[in-house]
Symmetry: C2
Subunit: 157 residues, 2 copies
């Protein structure tokens, strides 16, 4: 989990400026619905902010990995589910002033469930909510994870 600061010199209004940012692998987030229309969420501790957050399943894209395959792998690892009917909803930059991380937003249907296959350092509870419950949790500021807010709001447009 080594993190790296990258930098670049650019000329802005005639002056040389050094910009720096966190270099990060790209990532995927998955809006996955069960047959009863409930969406799969994961609840996990985020050491960076010392909070337990309710998020959609998500994770990093490994070097050379296709974003769709990364989404299928992360969904399986974090929830145990395999999905079908995969779609790429959008991709965006979570915080382009401080990191080059790019986020791919996928949707799918949940098909079959087995056990989680968690990475070292992961401890994840899987929970299910209807789209309406999820929107209400955004309005009540109980969902405060950016990728989760974007995926839910985009899919409700």
């Amino acid at each position: 989990m080594a993190k790296e600061i990258w930098s670049r010199e650019e000329v802005v209004r005639g002056k040389k400026i050094i910009f720096s940012w966190l270099h990060s692998k790209d990532a995927v987030v998955i809006l996955a619905k069960r047959a009863d229309n409930k969406i799969a969420f994961v609840q996990q501790r985020r050491p960076a902010i010392d909070k337990i957050l309710l998020e959609l399943p998500a994770g990093g894209i490994e070097k050379g990995e296709d974003p769709l395959l990364a989404a299928q792998r992360e969904l399986k690892e974090e929830t145990g589910w395999t999905g079908s009917d995969w779609m790429l909803l959008t991709s965006y930059f979570p915080s382009p002033g401080i990191t080059d991380e790019k986020m791919y937003v996928f949707s799918c249907k949940l098909k079959d469930q087995a056990d989680q296959e968690l990475d070292e350092g992961e401890e994840i509870d899987v929970l299910y909510f209807t789209p309406e419950e999820a929107l209400n949790m955004i309005k009540r500021k109980e969902i405060i994870d950016g990728k989760t807010i974007i995926a839910l709001l985009l899919s409700s447009l």
Copy 2:
């Protein structure tokens, strides 16, 4: 613009794990409407991703600064406008797996315009779009900045 990596050791499922992340100051983003209902956007180069992005006005909260005052300052610096009727729509974490940055989302009405007061390294064009034009740009994937997507979608709920 120095960036710092912070880390913390935690015990997960009986094993010591070191988590690391980019420590960042918190930030504000502002959804500001002119009397004709058009929203103020800024277009600027983002060295981290080597792209010119269309975003809402935004910026970092200085040490000890109140988020609302930071929002009022950043709006003035980037667009020249002062605002009225300020409201905090929400706050969220753009990417809690890799950074502790917290983003405060404000809305306001635009009141009076003077000149921009740009920071060193900033070169920013101000543009205006209706809420409908903005939503269409999200759907067409022309707006790909996370904070801008969240502020626009939340305000249209």
